[in-house]
Amino acid sequence: MLEPLLCDLSVPGRVGFRFPEPDVPLAEIPENLVRQNLPLPELYEVDVVRHFTRLSQLNHSIDTGFYPLGSCTMKYNPKLNEETARLPGFAHLHPMQPIETVQGSLALMYELQEWLKEIGGFAGVTLQPAAGAQGELTGILLIRAYFEARGETQRVKILVPDSAHGTNPATSAMSGMHVIELKSDDRGNVDLQALKAECDETLAGLMLTNPNTLGLFDENVEEVIRMVHEAGGLVYGDGANMNALLGIVRPGDLGFDVLHYNLHKTFSTPHGGGGPGSGPVGVAAHLVDFLPAPVVTILEAGDEGMELPPLYGLESPPKSIGRVKSFHGHFGMMVRAYTYMRVYGKEGLRKVSEYAVLNANYLLARLRAHYHVPYDRVCMHEFVAEGRWPDAPDIHALDISKRLMDYGFHPPTNYFPLIVHESLMIEPTETESKQVLDEFAEAMIKIASEAHSEPELLKNAPQITPVGRLDEVKAAKELVLCCAVGAYNR
């Protein structure tokens, strides 16, 4: 039997943790404000540790195997980063302490801002956004504030390529902008004709992912950006794919006005089963004054001769859009990203991208003869193949993905980008060795042959996993979203 839920394990009367008895006189508690029943589990520490440890064993993870989930950059998460983020001077620091007591953290944040500026080619960076999608929201709000300040409030249109991630249109809509979908051309680039047709005085901006979600560097990127700028719009970069660009090209040099980074992709902070992320945003000079508050600045310059460090502090930019969350962002993720960048250094970071691109092109080269790759040219850090064959009509990308589990691999991203039928989006990352890539390629090739010779192997997959395919319709129809009330204390 699979590990049950907490509510199945609870035993009335069992106690898991005790605090010291209060060393102060007890105060009167207002009875009318007190809850009668606290229906939480009754377990002891061994129950809890075994429960969650056993649960963990039901997961596939980077630490246990290859995880080529496209667009998510599932690279190895260095253990050192986990140690540095837990140093007591970082982990037990209150966000509202006087700045004199938090100079180490502010220095780290300041340096991280500087490095991200340098890598992206930007004039300013905010570390506040919690994840990529919140970085997008911040970026679109910045664009909006910029046009408001210029009195160009008719600029309400945001162009989003049809290959874009779902967060791009969702973000634009959430910011009160009009979303216009832009089609891609047959080489996977932004369609210049379609773009031209939208370049008018209502254009606020374009959200461009480059390399795009096909893993392709837009061959006309300079032209695309020039067209948007000439129409008076700004260009937002979805930096989810920055793992292809470290030391390769700086988006700011290409003309991007604003871009979000994902520390949880490019800079190796762990994905944690769904988060936390961290989505800093870089901006060109004309947007710096609008950045969310606060940003880290130097309040008083240091003196190197006297070995006096600068005094760091927090500041609100003059036309700030405000804050996008509590406090200063996901500081713990910043420590990890800082550590990562420190270990790689400038040459190392370029290698990260070079090897990410090498690994993707190697897999592409090995799989091209077995899977149709609709936009087939030199890719960047990932590529998208089709999970279907005309002579195996019943097989879908999903079947291939499920069969991959039987070979011990996490599947690629399925059904995204939407412009490829039955898409399999494959991002190996730079931290995988040739041996792993070869094993994966062999499995993929074998599956392509099984799809034709023994399709039921795919249809019945996965077999070796803790559970088989799930009834997703039942989950949505019958909606069981938590244990019943009181289930812990029966």
Partner: protein, 447 residues
């Protein structure tokens, strides 16, 4: 280090690709911008990097070095050893969103446990798998309410006693939206009744905090009834640790519960990552943002778990999604689930009450001092406001000399509360520490 490629392997791989050099793979990048020289530091070994990071961490004075009476939305609590032991498991730490349920039952079941714990704690029907933090969760409550009335109700009432960061975030999120956000101009010393006359038939949502930003605890039943009488919804932003002893928002009839989950076993970490709690009634589940795990069966007849109601989310609905949220706070939600299951029914009530008693002891002692006065009129939880005889800045500077991290300077966010300090006491503060605070404050009051 973290790159495995040998020279021989690189050459072999390039040969398979049909390229000569790594550089050849970047022909699509405009040549004039290709391979910029980056002004970044040189690489360090692990030992050197650890040394540098240690130096930075030592340059801080943390709540382990100081005696902490600072709270205001982020709290210094004890974290049982087992919590981090679980978080460090690579199978949780290095997985991502459980899109493939067959190889993600660990994460899915842990989220289902989390959802169950949060609904039990708040008295609500459903909880999502997390938001970014307390501020963004409060902002997403507005989106739910707005969608619920299909944009036909355009007024949102914010209690002025809602955390200033939450209110600021709400304003950022709603800049230029058709919503009228009001209520913050009200008298901060008034109770929730003061909000009632503002509620009308155009009101979509009323947002209050529990305990409020000043630590006060109110019974919100009358407020909820008044809102419901007008057809409006009520969202309550909670401190989940306080719910270890306090009546649930569910008992008040709240429609939405949001909150900052940080007190549940999450380190202060200079402000994040924390945990946005979001729970609601079943009838609003389809308007709710964020991931949701549901129970089902697999094709072998086993009970199994899967992400469900995904048609609300950005990857399916794109510009029509309930929110743009994608990555959430998965690992932090797991931390809170481990914390809540370890403390459980007895431990959570115990720690919750200890905070209450210690805070009341501190308040009682401080208000005996000349020049210090308790501002709170209503019952309070583990935070309270004292009017001080001098500026909070000066007092805090003085306290810091004695290794004490004083309270939050309320004048920063509330001009009418100049010289008022918000003090927080938790189970981490011993009686000796509280007495030391009081003695040191006495020196201020005698000076």
């Amino acid at each position: 280090m973290y790159l495995p490629h040998t020279d021989a392997e690189r050459k072999a791989m390039l040969a398979t690709i049909g390229a000569e050099r790594l550089e050849d793979l970047f022909q699509d990048v405009p040549a004039k911008y290709r391979f910029p020289e980056l002004n970044l530091p040189q690489a360090l070994t692990e030992m050197e990097a650890m040394g540098e990071l240690q130096d930075l961490a030592w340059a801080n004075e943390s709540t382990h070095d100081l005696i902490c009476f600072l709270g205001a939305g982020a709290y210094n609590h004890y974290i049982p050893a087992a919590v981090d032991a679980i978080l460090r498991r690579g199978e949780f730490l290095t997985a991502y969103t459980p899109y493939q349920p067959e190889i993600s039952q660990g994460t899915l079941r842990a989220i289902f446990d989390y959802q169950s714990l949060i609904t039990s704690l708040t008295g609500m029907d459903v909880s999502n798998a997390s938001h970014y933090d307390g501020a963004t969760a409060a902002a997403e409550a507005i989106s739910l309410a707005y969608a619920n009335f299909r944009g036909k109700r355009t007024k949102v009432i914010l209690s002025p006693n809602l955390h200033p960061h939450y209110r600021q975030t709400i304003h950022t999120y709603n800049h230029g939206s058709p919503l009228e956000i009001t209520g913050e101009q009200l008298d901060i010393s008034a109770g929730p009744e003061a909000l009632i006359p503002m509620i009308d038939e155009n009101t979509a949502l009323v947002i209050v905090q529990y305990p409020d930003f000043f630590g006060r605890i109110y019974d919100y039943t009358a407020l909820v009834e008044a809102a419901h009488a007008m057809g409006a919804l009520v969202s309550i932003a909670v401190n989940p640790l306080a719910l270890g002893m306090l009546k649930t928002p569910g008992e008040f009839g709240a429609d939405i519960v949001t909150g900052e989950g940080q007190p549940l076993g999450i380190p202060l970490s200079f402000g994040g990552p924390y945990l946005g709690i979001f729970a609601t009634r079943l009838e609003y589940v389809r308007k709710m943002a964020g991931r949701l795990v549901g129970e089902t069966v697999d094709n072998r007849g086993q009970r199994a778990y899967v992400l469900t109601l995904t048609a609300r989310e950005q990857h399916i609905r794109r510009e029509k999604a309930t929110s743009n949220i994608c990555t959430n706070q998965g690992l932090i939600a797991l931390a809170s689930a481990v914390y809540l299951s370890l403390l459980g029914k007895y431990g959570l009530r115990q720690v919750s009450e200890i905070c209450y008693h210690k805070a009341h002891y501190a308040a009682q002692q401080i208000t005996k001092l000349k020049g210090f006065e308790l501002w709170n009129q209503a019952p309070f939880y583990h935070e309270f406001v004292v009017r001080c005889p001098e500026t909070v800045k000066d007092i805090n500077a003085y306290l810091l000399e004695y290794g004490i991290l004083g309270g939050y300077d309320l004048g920063q966010a509330y001009p009418q509360l100049e010289n008022h300090m918000l003090l927080t006491v938790t189970e981490m503060n011993s009686r000796e520490e509280i007495d030391l605070l009081v003695e040191t404050l006495a020196e201020v009051s005698n000076a």
